[in-house]
Homo-oligomer: 142 residues x 2
């Protein structure tokens, strides 16, 4: 039975505080990670916390990317969830780690939906804004 | 060394297609899950796919909730990431499974940030809209 999606859990340590406390920088990292994953960013949500820390979420045609940061610890927690054979979630993780200047990072891979019935979904993303990158094909499972 | 956050991975199977294809219902489930987690919902993003399937993301003061659905498979993938001792992410998962009428579900727990330095963050959520539930205290790690 094949999985419906791939969910990567990304732990980033030793990130410069000023980098991961910069909301626009983290948002731009999410946008670039979506492109690196060959995914389509449909919506964004982001928030800057006091006294520090940011969260940025990207809703993808292929699922989501999240980043939460703790600048005081140099730590950023991210996940990249994608479906479809075209998606490249690992490239998205590497992109995030590079953009957020992580001194070290770890990726854990989870298969999602492995116990769902074997039919294939045919989710067709709606057209995305031109600025968010190329539109993928159907979000078929592998 | 204690973790900074708890990340629960929730697999929901045997969900009625009409329930998990209903964007408003899934959004409402995320809102209720945030309340069940004793968390504060700061922003939402949601999308309805063609021919079916929805995604709903909730940005919490304490991290995030995501739900992605495949009505044609009766499958919904969710995750609930929280920080802080007050948060109750497992209650949020149980709430989602109940609201999305999952015939069966599985929860996997991941500790996030366990290798970060031991300092304690002091993230203070900004005031949330009144409708999104009680405001938590500081998002301290346990």
């Amino acid at each position: 039975m094949s999985a419906i999606g791939t969910h990567l859990i990304l732990e980033m340590y030793d990130c410069p505080a000023e980098v991961i406390d910069d909301l626009e920088r983290v948002r731009e990292a999410v946008r670039e990670a979506a492109r690196a994953a060959r995914s389509t960013l449909l919506h964004e949500a982001a928030h800057s916390f006091q006294p520090q820390g940011v969260t940025a979420l990207g809703l993808l045609a292929e699922s989501h990317i999240s980043v939460h940061t703790w600048p005081e610890l140099g730590y950023a927690a991210a996940d990249v969830f994608t479906c479809g054979e075209q998606a490249r979630p690992r490239e998205a993780c590497e992109c995030l780690a590079r953009r957020l200047e992580a001194g070290r990072y770890e990726i854990q891979e989870l298969e999602r939906g492995a116990k769902a019935p074997p039919e294939r979904p045919a989710r067709v993303p709606e057209p995305a804004p031109a600025a968010t990158g190329p539109r993928p094909g159907q979000c078929d499972v592998g």
